[in-house]
Symmetry: C2
């Protein structure tokens, strides 16, 4: 039987997430990102399309490597302006019943005590439909916005993230026992104080006394998303993540990445099949391939090459404005090669900067890119899943909500017809229950968070 696939919509509370320049397209509605109705309409659309979640990316600083300046990011609205990702969730939950919401939040700059309460509040308000995309932040400007003169190095960011998770696991899983809230109206006892615990965390980065301010929500710990590409990142994902993002354009490399993380998860006692892998998807669909290609041609004419170089600059640390076309990126060969692998398929290595620049002049991005009929797109999705052991896709919007409308009206029915995508939402109240067809919204006992539980 073919593997069931999962679909997230890939969004951000801003004008231009990854489709640089498309805000200027007359049909693009993303200029309404500041309006509640943009988000409530989008959520209703996704629930009509039986999507798993709306995934909301985030950054805490400006992309200022390209041209050694913030200017190109501002001109092209590359992830700035960008508003808070969590505050749009409750109104979307108000107009939906099944759609999950994955909120990005960094472990590097906010305090775990307040963050844990925000996530518990969201899990209460959505009745258990919250996921958290764990990031450690890679923009130097974000460090400067939060009082650091320079960014922590990559491994230290992960060390801090490990402790951050320990703190929030203690708050979510360990502070309130399952039967702490007794609501005894006769004796006027709401919570049994013997079953609500301070956590008394004293660590290298955090000291947190507790107890957690929120009573237990349906999932307690939100479903955990993470993107791990470095070896430290992959180990972190294998330990903590329930959904993992992998990027790339080469299915054989992706297959190795996925297998590697599943193997590491198994080694520490987790069920490797419980970890779901996603890659970004750009799908432009037409009734015929010619129609799809024509559509893509028009969309591409709005694409901002400068915007792509802004993103590449801060994503890789390389300022392409400082190189000539016939030069090569300087740096360790492994590093340069991994960048080439992420940004284009079957790239000859080393590539000239001119070739890299050229490869960025395209909406395709770092995942699956398909232009064609619904049949062709469904074929490609299934083929990638077979070749890589992926579980699903993060569907990027080229124009919003047009891209998702087309996908939901044309591709989703084709996937449903093939029996690889749900026709109705699975049973279960919470997102975690639906994700695993499980009968509990709680983390399994094999997850490292479970050891902080304090039950009778």
């Amino acid at each position: 039987m073919a593997k069931k696939l999962h679909l997230n919509a890939f969004e951000m509370n801003c004008l231009g997430h990854l489709s640089h320049g498309l805000w200027a397209h007359p049909a693009d509605q993303r200029w309404r990102y500041k309006d509640l109705s943009y988000w409530t309409e989008l959520a209703a659309l996704l629930e009509r399309g039986k999507f798993d979640t709306l995934f909301i990316a985030d950054v805490l600083g400006i992309y200022d490597v390209y041209g050694n300046s913030k200017d190109a990011a501002l001109r092209n609205a590359v992830q700035i302006p960008a508003n808070d990702p969590a505050l749009i969730v409750p109104p979307m939950a108000h107009v939906t019943n099944h759609l999950g919401f994955a909120v990005t939040s960094s472990t590097s700059y906010e305090h775990p005590f307040a963050f844990a309460r925000r996530m518990s509040t969201l899990d209460h308000l959505t009745k258990g439909r919250i996921a958290w995309n764990i990031v450690t932040s890679y923009l130097p400007n974000a460090a400067h916005n939060f009082g650091y003169s320079e960014m922590m190095n990559h491994d230290e960011r992960y060390e801090l993230a490990e402790e951050f998770l320990e703190v929030v696991y203690k708050l979510w899983e360990g502070s309130w026992e399952d039967n702490a809230v007794i609501i005894d109206k006769n004796n006027r006892i709401y919570s049994d104080p013997n079953k609500v615990h301070k956590i008394e965390h004293n660590g290298k980065y955090f000291n947190v006394q507790g107890p957690h301010m929120s009573e237990p929500s349906l999932q307690r710990t939100p479903v955990l998303y993470q993107a791990g590409t470095s070896s430290r990142g992959k180990a972190f994902a294998a330990r903590h993540a329930e959904c993992v993002f992998v990027t790339g354009t080469d299915t054989s490399i992706m297959k190795r990445q996925i297998a590697d993380i599943r193997r590491q998860a198994e080694e520490i006692g987790r069920d490797p099949s419980k970890i779901k892998f996603f890659t970004p998807l750009v799908a432009v669909v037409g009734e015929t391939r010619e129609e799809a290609e024509q559509k893509m041609k028009v969309l591409s004419s709005y694409y901002s090459h400068e915007g792509a170089m802004v993103l590449f600059g801060s994503g890789t640390g390389y300022d392409l404005a400082a190189y000539s076309d016939d030069s090569y990126l300087e740096g360790p060969r492994n590093h340069v090669q991994s960048i080439a692998e992420r940004f284009s398929k079957n790239a000859p290595n080393p590539r000239t900067v001119g070739e890299i620049r050229q490869s960025l002049n395209h909406l395709r991005g770092t995942g699956l890119y398909v232009v064609g009929t619904a049949t062709e797109i469904a074929d490609q999705l299934q083929q990638w899943i077979e070749e890589t052991d992926l579980d699903g896709f993060n569907v990027r919007q080229v124009i919003s909500p047009g891209t998702l409308e087309d996908f939901i009206d044309l591709v989703v029915p084709e996937l449903q017809k093939r029996g690889v995508f749900r026709k109705e939402y699975e049973e279960g109240t919470t997102f975690r229950e639906r994700l695993y067809s499980a009968d509990s919204g709680r983390l399994p006992d094999s997850h490292p968070a479970a050891k902080y539980r304090r039950q009778a």
Copy 2:
């Protein structure tokens, strides 16, 4: 002409804000605080009643002075469990058009960069209906939740708050010029980079580079609320606040407090009439006074005396469990006297602990308390405004939403008939425009935040 009065509903994202024990009353709906529909229904009710705002209190720790333990707070659900106050605002904005939302947030424990973006996001999503209740946090457990071994002293909390405000003013008022967002589709320029500025704040407590991540919202700086009772607090309110909370049961003391803050505001060049003063109100209304008194008698039978002592303990620092009834509170005479003044009218000084304990066994709280007909309540409201120069009231709920339903159905029409409360919302898109019958949602030039503006 009689002064127009303003009304805020006084709430908190929890079971028991100040009406300790009433969660057990069969008509109380506050057990639904975790449900979106509790909040959307409440917001719709308040808009029907033409209220200015829903004011949402908050704490970041547990009340653990009474009995030197967290237990009584948990048993009585005294502000724990308590969820995040900001996340309930967007769904309420979704179902209303005029109601303002005042969100409490502390300057002591969260970082101003992320906080500023959250408030800008709320101001965008509500189209300019956001206020911020600035607090510095007074619970020792909150300090322990955020990594401090002991609480900063009162004056240092205010010093830090001053710098926190400087940072957020720079982000809200100074980072993006008014015409920075040009949305030039032909030339594909969303923001003019020359008009978006880093703030480069380097201070004692914070280093923040910027720019602000959010484009300017309608109000930019939210309407500023604050409760200042200490001399440091009053000076802070005179400098920054647009709405000030004063508490007490003696109108002559309140009159002096209000006059003192207005005078201090005038001394630094602010229009003293622009500062609006509010005090809490408990109003239980009946068709006859007997009916109201009977209603109050039933409500009072649910009141938790222990809950009141929990709040008193952390609010004052005195653990009444450690005193005998015939003893006196130890400490500086001024301090002990100011506590007595806050907690009961015409109190003889010094009072025995037994007398204090007795005075806490009552729903009246620290503001205006009236039980009677709509006419009697309206009379009292007008009398307090005349005697003290107050501008309005924070209406506390005894049971929710029953207290507000009664108030809106019976008292509001009486106030409208007398011409002292609006029959329809004032013109103006934003909360600040309606509050001042002004033609701009922006802070006036005389406010200290205005000096951070960077205009051509």
